[in-house]
């Protein structure tokens, strides 16, 4: 009886209160086991939009995506950064194991252009991932991005300020990021299949994992 019950409980249509429903979504492992365990599909959802909300830059918010991006750069498709807040630094990206020949940087003059470019890239079907810092945008523009990501089967990531958490969003995954005591705190606000997820604190050493250790190197004439 109990074996048949557990079999029944494995059925994807059955949801238990303490779980998020298992949803069959194609995804890319984040590279962080604790986080993968909390995400439906076990990683960043492909063909969908993910919102990363944070007010702080420099807490490892981009390195959180690095293992997935490095993995995706092994494919033939582009990885696009739309309107990044600073200059993407080639040695930094290389040190994450990323194939730079896949990386495309798109600079824009307005929030409208950023949203347009992100939508275009997501929809094109030739971009494995599109990471955008579009600035203020309406729920409608996010919906367009979500549809474009579905259509182009592209991993879309939108960075925005924490106050956006109060707004409704069509993105199936929303995560709030903050720094706490040297760790990157990851709070899942919304995920497919629902359910409350406990906040995770990723060790900054694991967030900074690709750069394993700091070694003092003397350059030049010194």
């Amino acid at each position: 009886m109990s074996t048949s019950l557990s079999l029944v409980l494995q059925h994807p249509a059955i949801w238990r209160g303490d779980q998020y429903a298992k949803v069959a979504v194609e995804s890319v492992p984040t590279g962080f086991a604790e986080l993968d365990a909390q995400l439906p599909g076990g990683g960043w959802p492909r063909a969908a939009l993910t919102e990363l909300l944070t007010n702080q830059q420099g807490i490892g918010e981009l390195r959180l995506l690095a293992p997935a991006l490095a993995h995706l750069s092994g494919e033939e498709k582009w990885l696009v950064l739309v309107a990044p807040p600073y200059l993407p630094y080639a040695p930094g990206f290389e040190s994450l194991g990323m194939n730079l020949s896949r990386l495309v940087i798109v600079r824009t003059r307005s929030s409208g252009e950023s949203l347009w470019a992100a939508e275009r890239c997501l929809r094109s079907g030739t971009c494995a991932a599109v990471i955008a810092w579009p600035g203020p945008g309406s729920e409608r523009s996010l919906r367009r991005l979500q549809l474009a990501a579905e259509e182009g089967k592209s991993l879309g990531v939108i960075f925005g300020p924490t106050r956006n958490a109060a707004n409704a969003s069509p993105a199936p995954l929303r995560i709030q990021l903050s720094a706490a005591r040297g760790k990157l705190e990851v709070q899942i606000l919304k995920r497919r299949g629902g359910g409350w997820a406990p906040p995770l604190a990723l060790e900054s050493s694991s967030v900074l994992r690709p750069a394993l250790r700091y070694r003092r190197i003397r350059h030049g004439l010194a």
Partner: protein, 477 residues
């Protein structure tokens, strides 16, 4: 040998009509003081307008009639463009002015899947270009032309059937002086068949050798040498709009007609275009020039149209456009891979570049780039913007480098020699001495530190050797 003749009846009218999706009553008239209707479209015909009428009489029948004076100077280049486009079907194309093109197709039948399929492709292609053609096939060029002029659409592949097919055609179709045709009709000879029944020596004595020669060429009894059309090195074409427009969609419609011609030309040349110049001519102002660039050589008209739509959305037209010209400024060789069975069966490489071209068309070429690291120790010199796709495979370096770099190092406040950024910064790692640039007068000697603030943000800061000021250069995002 097998020849296909593409004849464009009422060529001058067709040239006017292909520039717009739909039109009302249109006639083409002769020039001069008392213009006469040369040809009219079906709408005009439904008002009772017929070729040969005085233009004034035609206007009386249809008040909203649009009149165009025939422009023979525009017809020849247009015919050449058709010949250039037709080069994709065969290597031998001949012009038959004023309104026809001959293709030698015996060698193309196999490639295009037989006569029927080849003619279907030619016909469908011409319709896309905005033309309606009478197509005829015969073993001799003159025969094909005569059949196409008769508009019968006959396909004769067997020389033995040619005399029977030509026999009922009226003599007016021949390239003979009007006088000859009239005299023959007076004696009761109206068709080619009747003419051929007359004794040859008498015919030659009465009307000269040229009549006999033309008939003999048509039947394949005399050699019929045609001068092949020499394809130009690059494609340039211009199309006048029937009525000036400023909206993007009608412009794109016209541009597509020209781009399809260009695509045919490129297929013939086995090339793709990398730089395309589009000139929009206005009535009184300087023309607007729109340049389209392609990262990967392109010969797909739809792709060009999509890119052009993007560009036109950003171009401010000073006035309405009355003619569009297209010039393939730069082309590069390309295999014949676009001719695949399924349109989606394209090389991903070409598809991959589509998005780059799209973004550049709207945002500008410089706004879309890749990055590559540069062998220099100075951080601001250690990277370069590059063409997307030219960067390298990454290597896991053990040196910690930030993902973000500031456009220019930002000077930080400090208190008692300690750096401040919205509060004190804690030095987490360092110093890392970076020296270099003595060779190009950008000499730096800096000690780099990784610093964290109270909120947990991580920065890359430095201090010049022997100086107290701190600078922020990177962010460990």
């Amino acid at each position: 040998m097998l020849w296909a003749c593409l004849r464009l009846p009422d060529f001058s009218l067709q040239l006017r009509l292909r520039g717009a999706e739909s039109s009302g009553s249109v006639v083409v008239t002769t020039a001069g003081n008392r213009p006469q209707v040369l040809s009219c479209n079906s709408q005009a015909r439904s008002h009772g307008i017929r070729p040969g009428m005085a233009a004034s009489a035609a206007i009386a029948l249809a008040p909203d009639l649009v009149e165009h004076v025939r422009n023979p100077a525009a017809e020849e280049p247009a015919l050449r463009s058709i010949a250039a486009w037709a080069g994709q079907f065969t290597s031998v194309v001949c012009l038959v002015p004023p309104d026809a093109v001959l293709l030698e197709i015996a060698g193309s039948l196999r490639l295009f899947g037989g006569l029927r399929l080849l003619l279907l492709q030619i016909d469908a292609g011409l319709i896309e270009l905005g033309y309606t053609a009478a197509l005829a096939v015969a073993p001799t060029p003159t025969g094909a032309c005569l059949l196409a002029r008769a508009g019968t659409g006959v396909r004769i592949t067997d020389p033995a059937q040619l005399p029977a097919a030509l026999a009922p055609l009226p003599l007016v179709l021949l390239d003979q002086p009007e006088e000859t045709v009239r005299t023959l009709s007076v004696i009761g000879v109206h068709t080619i068949g009747e003419c051929l029944a007359l004794p040859r020596d008498g015919l030659a004595r009465r009307f000269g050798q040229q009549l006999l020669d033309e008939l003999d060429r048509a039947l394949g009894r005399l050699p019929d040498a045609r001068e092949p059309y020499l394809h130009p090195a690059r494609y340039a074409s211009k199309l006048a709009l029937p009525a000036p427009v400023q909206e993007a969609e009608p412009l794109l419609f016209v541009a597509k007609r020209l781009l399809l011609e260009l695509a045919g030309f490129l297929r013939m040349k086995q090339k793709g275009v990398t730089r395309l110049k589009l000139t929009l001519h206005h009535e009184d102002r300087k023309p607007t020039v729109v340049m389209l660039g392609f990262a990967v050589p392109c010969r797909d008209a739809d792709r060009m149209v999509r890119l052009l739509r993007e560009r036109l959305a950003n171009v401010e037209l000073p006035d309405r456009v009355e003619a569009i010209a297209i010039d393939s400024e730069e082309t590069r060789p390309l295999g014949s891979r676009n001719l695949s069975l399924f349109p989606e069966d394209r090389l991903p490489e070409e598809q991959r570049w589509l998005i780059i071209d799209h973004l550049r068309a709207r945002l500008g070429a410089d706004a879309v780039h890749g990055i590559i690291s540069h062998p220099d120790h100075r951080p601001e010199q250690a990277w370069r913007a590059c063409e997307p796709g030219t960067g390298r495979e990454g290597y896991c370096s053990s040196v910690r480098r930030p993902l973000w770099l500031l456009e220019a190092p930002r000077r930080l406040h400090s208190s008692a020699g300690e750096p401040l950024l919205d509060g004190p910064l804690t030095l987490e790692a360092g110093p890392e001495r970076i020296e270099g640039g003595w060779w190009d007068e950008g000499d730096v000697t800096r000690d780099y530190f990784i610093a964290t603030d109270a909120a947990g943000r991580r920065f890359w800061i430095y201090r010049e050797r022997g100086e107290a000021a701190w600078f922020l250069q990177g962010v460990f995002a």
